[in-house]
């Protein structure tokens, strides 16, 4: 009783003051508030936005943990300290020295992302006097998972500040934004610091610091080497389980798949978007395979490497799976109608692979594809909704005719 009562008294004391949203923001993390219904329905279902967001975060945690081990593993592999893994439960991967590297590199990214982002949210909530919305909880977790492990913290801080203010708050905060804030942050990093973000060094810890020296190590991602038409030197199992270099949390297709199943089962993530994106990507990949096999593009072409990749392998490499499962499904920026979700998802998959193949300078297409479709989602919805409106009008006309 003690804590609950004390907090209740404090809440009453600060009610109506500028700081009330801030206090409530923390209070509601501890206790479900004592609010009751007024007018309208007298009972409410169990879910609130915190629970929804929390479910997404739970689906992200395995990716985060795997990403921490992988950060250390990739570092140790290129420095020659450990051998490549042979199976998923290999001790070469799941060991404390890998985790240690991951912890010192990844946890700061998480902390900076949350501290900067939430601080900005708090400031805006206090200025506008509304409750703190939970949108950033997921964004803050997504951001460290989609950046390279060696990203300087100050760059991350600048990008988060930009993304939250321009990507979200100027539109009116959670629920009003047009672009996915996490991807806005990622895109900002990509366009503001292109030399840093698009090189082949940032994907493995220490690769940048050691570049040019005697003990220089390579940190090429699978996509990077494919874009240069180099042969694939990772097995399908490696790519599926995620023992490859890449952004922190997006390498393990296996864990992303588990997260996707969890999101679909809990009905939080839209299976329509996920499924149609995969279909879109496969269709585009298949078209490229066809183009290569029918001899239109020869081995000398700079697109050959990625075009020739078996169409289904596109799902395993790069950030495609992660983007489709966790970011394309963001309900605020995705299409809001069920039919629209099919179109939206399909185009994301389709365009992702197209950008990936045709833009060798930056072979990761999923980010741009999702941002592009975010912009078009309201248009898609508009036409879907107009279909409903027209059907209704037609009914009237049949009647009067």
């Amino acid at each position: 009783m003690g804590l609950k009562q004390n907090l209740h008294n404090l809440k009453e004391k600060y009610k109506g003051t500028k700081m009330a949203p801030l206090f409530n923001g923390f209070h509601t993390f501890l206790y479900l508030p004592n609010e009751t219904t007024h007018g309208g329905t007298h009972i409410k279902a169990a879910d609130d936005l915190k629970r929804t967001m929390n479910t997404v975060i739970m689906a992200l945690i395995p990716c985060l943990i795997f990403g921490m081990f992988n950060a250390g593993y990739q570092h140790h592999v290129v420095t020659g300290e450990v051998e490549r893994v042979t199976g998923f439960f290999s001790g070469n991967f799941w060991n404390l020295s890998n985790l240690w590297i991951g912890a010192i590199k990844v946890l700061p990214l998480v902390i900076v992302s949350y501290v900067v982002g939430l601080a900005i949210e708090f400031v805006f909530c206090i200025i506008k006097g509304h409750e703190i919305e939970e949108g950033y909880l997921v964004t803050g977790m997504l951001v460290p998972l989609i950046v390279p492990v060696d990203l300087p913290l100050w760059m991350l801080a600048v990008a988060v500040a930009f993304g939250v203010v321009i990507g979200k708050e100027v539109f009116g905060g959670t629920g009003m934004n047009i672009l996915n804030p996490a991807l806005t942050i990622r895109a900002f990093l990509f366009f503001a610091y292109p030399t840093w973000m698009s090189g082949d060094k940032v994907w493995v810890h220490d690769a940048v610091a050691k570049s040019g020296g005697a003990d220089a190590i390579s940190g090429e991602t699978v996509l990077g080497s494919l874009a240069q038409s180099q042969p694939l030197d990772y097995s399908v199992a490696d790519m599926f389980f995620g023992f490859i270099p890449g952004s922190v949390g997006e390498t393990s297709t296996f864990l992303i798949l588990l997260g996707a199943l969890f999101l679909i089962f809990t009905k939080i993530g839209s299976w329509r978007i996920m499924l149609s994106s995969v279909i879109g990507a496969l269709v585009m990949g298949f078209i490229f395979n066809f183009v290569v096999s029918s001899g239109i593009i020869g081995e000398t072409s700079k697109f050959y490497g990625l075009m020739n990749l078996d169409f289904w392998k596109h799902l395993l490499i790069g950030g495609f799976a992660f983007g489709v499962v966790y970011m394309a499904t963001d309900p605020v920026t995705a299409s809001q109608t069920n039919k629209g979700k099919w179109i939206y998802g399909f185009l994301i998959g389709f365009i992702s692979i197209m950008i990936r193949v045709f833009n060798p300078a930056y072979p990761e297409g999923v980010m741009l594809a999702i941002l592009l479709m975010n912009v078009f989602a309201p248009t898609i919805d508009h036409y879907v909704v107009q279909g409903n409106v027209k059907r209704r009008l037609k009914r009237t006309k049949v009647k009067t005719a």
């Binding site: 609950k4 907090l7 209740h8 409530n24 509601t28 993390f29 501890l30 206790y31 479900l32 508030p33 004592n34 609010e35 009751t36 219904t37 007024h38 007018g39 309208g40 329905t41 007298h42 009972i43 409410k44 279902a45 169990a46 879910d47 609130d48 936005l49 915190k50 629970r51 929804t52 929390n54 479910t55 409750e131 919305e133 939970e134 905060g173 959670t174 629920g175 009003m176 089962f265 809990t266 009905k267 939080i268 839209s270 329509r272 309900p331 605020v332 995705a334 809001q336 109608t337 069920n338 979700k341 919805d381 909704v385 409903n388 409106v389 059907r391 209704r392 009914r395 009237t396 009647k399």
Partner: protein, 448 residues
């Protein structure tokens, strides 16, 4: 085309405390009240000033916009108080009942030989007109418009709703008379829907019968209208509840306005949920005496989704046949937002486990289970919303007051109660029914 109405989308909210089939006949209470707000959109002009003696059926006030529409007293007695609110708005007209009931005599009529105009005028003078409501806007019907059809839903699917098959038992004669009267009022058909062949409404003549099946809101008239004969722009459909049909039928048969109905006392805060008989406008405390666990209870006139919070000293709504009492939920719950939930209903499976046992009955309280937020989640409303309408888009159109868009999206076809389920499951805890009500009011004001 099949005449059956079957829907898949929706949600049966299963709660503890459904009424047992046992009716207590209560003695006449002492205090009654009529709330003009029950008749949405009506501006009352008082006929019976404070101190007037009224008979049951005598008009208390009329509608400012149409003086033929009278609103009668359910009971004979004395108008003791007219409670007014801000800007002298009439909130309640309180009537202290006499011990012996005197009825205004409207004369017995043979409906079968009456014309539509005669039926209409009889309903006006006897004060039975307000029982007829209309779509669009969900208000008391405008008698100057001709309805394309009249709908009666003989199946109540709302949580803990009164079992109409039970409450209407033995009223076949009244129902038949009233329905015959209604058939005179429209060029189109009178549609009656029932859930089982045992319903007293099932064997009546002159109407189009529909069998309904599916989850709530299959019993909502809007759902049935949409399936049978959807409303287009410029069209009007009238709606009457079966319990009001009984009153209309009795009026024609006996000449008396008898607003007695069987009320279901439901919800977990009743010691024995059961049925009682009472007049419209009855004092709640008379109905629930000795049966209610008073501590921390919310007493609702109507059902938990779209009823009105009245408290123990409030009065039964004019159209209601149900009183619900559930626990208030004004307490904090430690880590209530992330711990697994077994004792609440949810349509997701986000560590909520109501999907494990779909038959389980729940004891829900009035806690909002979270704070008000902007619309974020999409695709959830559609799962519980059976109409061919985009619920979130329509809600947003109401919020930004775009009448053209509301019209296009189907605002003519809906009533606030149709958005009760989407409001119930809303993750952002938005007040859907209020948004819709305000949207419809605005449309009505602008378009007439």
């Amino acid at each position: 085309m099949s005449k059956d109405i079957r829907i898949k989308k929706g949600l049966d909210v299963k709660l503890i405390g459904s009424a047992e089939h046992e009716t207590t006949h209560l003695p006449l209470g002492s205090l009654y009240a009529i709330r003009p707000d029950d008749f949405h959109g009506v501006i009352p002009k008082i006929l019976a000033k404070e101190g007037t003696e009224v008979k049951a059926g005598q008009a208390l006030f009329y509608n400012k916009s149409d003086e033929r529409i009278l609103f009668p007293s359910p009971v004979s007695g004395k108008v003791t108080e007219i409670v007014r609110g801000a800007r002298r708005k009439v909130l309640e007209i309180k009537i202290t009942a006499n011990s012996t009931q005197a009825f205004e005599d409207f004369g017995t009529k043979d409906v079968s030989v009456m014309s539509g105009e005669e039926v209409k005028n009889h309903l006006f003078t006897s004060g039975c007109w307000p029982f007829i409501k209309q779509r669009p806007y969900d208000v008391v019907a405008n008698p100057n418009q001709a309805p394309k059809a009249i709908f009666v839903s003989g199946h109540a699917s709302a949580p803990l709703a009164a079992d109409l098959d039970y409450t209407l038992k033995g009223k076949e004669a009244e129902l038949q008379t009233a329905l015959t009267a209604l058939t005179k009022l429209t060029e189109g058909k009178v549609h009656v829907s029932v859930a089982s062949s045992k319903s007293p409404l099932a064997g009546l003549n002159g109407v189009e019968l529909h069998n309904v099946s599916g989850p709530h809101p299959v019993g909502n008239v809007s759902t049935q209208i949409a399936q049978v004969n959807p409303i287009n722009k410029g069209e009007v459909v009238w709606v009457v509840t079966p319990q009001d049909l009984v009153v209309i039928g009795e009026l024609f048969l006996t000449g008396k306005f008898n607003a007695t109905r069987t009320i279901a006392l439901t919800g977990s805060k009743f010691k024995t949920p059961k049925y009682v008989t009472a007049l419209a406008g009855a004092n709640i405390s008379d109905l629930v005496k000795g049966n209610l666990e008073e501590a921390n209870a919310r007493v609702i006139s109507g059902n938990v989704l779209s009823g009105l919070q009245v408290g123990e000293n409030g009065f039964l709504g004019y159209y209601e046949n149900q009183v619900t009492a559930i626990p208030e939920g004004d307490d904090y719950e430690l880590f209530g937002w992330n711990k697994p939930v077994f004792n609440k209903i949810s349509t997701t499976r986000a560590l909520t486990f109501s999907w494990l046992n779909p038959k389980k009955k729940y004891d829900l309280n009035t806690n909002t289970n979270g704070e008000h937020r902007a619309f974020v989640v999409t695709g959830a409303y559609e799962e519980v919303f059976p109409l061919d309408i985009f619920p979130m888009q329509l809600l947003k159109a109401c919020m930004y007051k775009d009448i053209d868009e509301m019209e296009g999206l189907g605002a003519y076809e809906i009533a606030p109660e149709d958005f009760a389920l989407t409001e119930f499951i809303c993750v952002s805890k938005q007040p859907h029914q209020k948004i819709i009500r305000e949207g419809l009011d605005m449309m009505r004001e602008e378009l007439g």
